[in-house]
């Protein structure tokens, strides 16, 4: 090949593929999960809460109960579907509140002077040192278990992390030149935050929300497993695993399905979050070996 020809090779498109795999797989899994939850409001194979003793511990792959039944004869698939609702409610609920509170505190820390920044940042650091599971246990056990308590516990648990992330993102946006010109124009702080900063950190907010949604689902499962999360008649995958553990000497499949559900959903959300992050922050793609 002559040099001239080499120099005019058309650019190849191969690099776009790998950054989208995470996003695509994550999106598919997440949408599937959401779809299942939505469908559960309209249709269920059978009632997930009413015991049907004659059907207890049926193995999977039967016509009426594709994944079998639990120790009280309740259909597994129905329980999984309703459990999806809980995961979304609690996970998204906790993440949303944390996002809201974290954004406010993060923006205040970034834009309202050193004292505010120091106070908020130190406060967030201290809260991050407190093991969330322990506080969630205490909270749930003193205020009573249930979805609401769990959502509150998760919000408290996640807010400091959001605060740090939003603060960092907002600070880097505030360094940009267009902010200086906006200030020179006499724009007020609130205006700059609303019109310039928030749109620019929107990507960060979405990515973090997705990742904490996933974390919320995991934590809720743990709390429900321990008995301090949601209880019957609400259904949670963690709770299902607790019940399954009691029958584990007899039949193991019960211990597998809810766990798999958790893994797929959390994996899907994490992949989605990472995929979104890659798309929204292409600078990170430059890597030397």
């Amino acid at each position: 090949m002559t040099i001239a020809a080499t120099a005019t090779i058309a650019p190849k498109r191969r690099r776009r593929l790998d950054l989208n795999a995470s996003l695509v797989v994550g999106l598919v899994l997440t949408l599937g999960f959401l779809a299942v939850a939505v469908v559960s409001f309209v249709w269920l194979p059978s009632n997930p809460n009413i015991p049907v003793i004659k059907n207890r511990m049926l193995p999977p792959f039967l016509p009426d109960h594709w994944l079998g039944t639990d120790g009280l004869g309740r259909d597994i698939i129905a329980q999984l579907m309703v459990g999806a609702r809980t995961s979304i409610l609690v996970g998204a609920g906790g993440a949303s509140i944390a996002l809201f509170l974290g954004t406010i505190t993060g923006l205040v820390a970034a834009a309202y002077g050193k004292l505010a920044d120091e106070t908020i940042s130190r406060g967030a650091d201290i809260m991050l040192s407190i093991p969330g599971m322990v506080t969630a246990l205490v909270l749930a056990a003193t205020m009573g278990s249930g979805a609401l308590t769990t959502i509150l516990a998760l919000s408290a648990f996640f807010t400091p992390s959001f605060t740090r992330v939003i603060r960092a993102a907002a600070m880097s946006v505030l360094q940009e030149d267009f902010i200086t010109s906006a200030r020179l124009y006499g724009r007020g702080k609130l205006f700059i935050l609303a019109r310039h900063v928030i749109p620019n950190i929107g990507g960060v907010m979405i990515v973090q929300f997705t990742l904490y949604f996933a974390a919320g689902i995991l934590t809720e499962a743990g709390l429900s497993y321990l008995g301090v999360g949601v209880t019957r008649p609400s259904i949670s995958w963690g709770m299902m695993l607790n019940e399954a553990q009691q029958t584990v000497g007899i039949s193991s499949p019960l211990a597998i399905w809810p766990g798999l559900a958790i893994v797929f959903v959390v994996l899907g959300l994490n992949l989605l979050g990472d995929g979104l992050r890659d798309v929204l922050d292409p600078k990170l793609k430059q890597r030397r070996a």
């Binding site: 040099i3 001239a4 080499t6 120099a7 090779i9 650019p11 190849k12 191969r14 690099r15 430059q286 890597r287 030397r288 070996a289």
Partner: protein, 334 residues
């Protein structure tokens, strides 16, 4: 210590070097040769591909970038060697000094240890011997109190001292060729001269060849025998320093020379107004067809927009231009 080159063999010979990552081609066919002990300057603005050329010679390109062409050095084609084979030459026959000495030195190890490592690795000397040689090396570079200097961490010493440490690391094993990529750009002006003087004498002592990469023309004038001017990934002019700087044939070189703010020996045409080359360097993924400089060249014609000129010329000065600037005495002779 590396054995002396067989007489006549160049320190390095580059043929048709192409550096690309599949989407963008940063170096589009570069050829040059540096004789043993010779000194060549590589000039160009950012985006011209000069740093990528240096990294390609060393085999230190960022991930995803590949080299095509030949790089003949120390009896081998470096472009075809594995990383392992290359690493036995790096620091020994071929070394490099980078631009920012603070980020280029290991922050958690003492600078003396970093130099002695190089000596131990390539000569097999034991720790004590290497440490003694390190002290000797620093003394020979006229660095004050080397016993204290070797125990320092990079953040504890000044920028000038750091760069001198880097030069020491690069020259410890008497390489055949040392590549200096903007070695003084990150330093204070007052320190730059000292560091360059040190580089100059250390290179001369060892009879190493030098490839000096910079955008600063007076440095090249002072230190180099030949110079190559790069634009958009290609060499557009190359030849003896005095020739190129006094009688450039390529319009880009002319433009570079004219836009130098202060030059005592170089601008001989008497003009003292600051001029700049109109337009901007084109991005490497969006180059014009034909000669890459045609959008900004005062002498561009249709031919320049379609056909790529190659380096040529009857004298020792080669330039890649369809309408090279004529020398006054050439015109007279015709």
């Amino acid at each position: 210590m590396t054995p002396p080159l067989s007489p006549g063999a160049p320190a390095i010979e580059v043929k048709d070097l192409v550096v690309t990552n599949g989407d963008v081609t940063a170096v589009r066919g570069v050829s040059f040769s540096i004789p043993a002990g010779g000194r060549m300057g590589l000039v160009g603005e950012s985006g011209s591909g000069k740093s990528m050329t240096a990294l390609a010679l060393m085999g230190l390109l960022p991930m995803g970038w590949h080299t095509h062409g030949e790089v003949l050095h120390d009896g081998a084609d470096l472009a075809k060697l594995s990383d392992k084979a290359l690493s036995s030459r790096r620091g020994r026959t071929l070394s490099m000094v980078f631009q920012d000495p603070l980020s280029s030195l290991n922050p958690v190890r003492r600078v003396g240890d970093q130099i002695s490592w190089v000596i131990r690795h390539h000569t097999g000397a034991d720790r004590k011997t290497a440490e003694a040689q390190t002290l000797e090396l620093l003394r020979s570079m006229n660095l004050p109190r080397p016993e204290n200097l070797v125990r320092a961490y990079p953040h504890e010493i000044s920028g000038g001292q750091r760069q001198r440490i880097m030069i020491a690391m690069a020259l410890a094993c008497y390489p055949q060729l040392i590549i200096a990529d903007e070695p003084t750009t990150a330093l204070d002006v007052t320190v730059q001269k000292q560091v360059l003087r040190l580089l100059n004498s250390a290179v001369a002592e060892r009879n190493s060849a030098l490839l000096m990469i910079t955008h600063d023309l007076p440095i090249i004038a002072a230190m180099c025998d030949t110079v190559a001017v790069m634009y958009a990934g290609r060499i557009v002019e190359m030849g003896p320093v005095q020739e190129v700087f006094r009688h450039p044939r390529h319009h880009y070189t002319r433009g570079l020379l004219d836009s130098q703010p202060t030059m005592d020996n170089i601008a001989l045409d008497g003009s003292s107004r600051l001029v700049s080359i109109p337009g901007m360097v084109p991005p490497l993924h969006d180059l014009p067809s034909g000669c890459a400089f045609n959008l900004r060249c005062p002498a561009a014609t249709d031919k320049c927009r379609t056909d790529m000129p190659e380096l040529g010329g009857e004298t020792s000065l080669k330039s890649a231009c369809w309408h090279p600037i004529a020398r006054a005495d050439e015109v007279a002779a015709q």
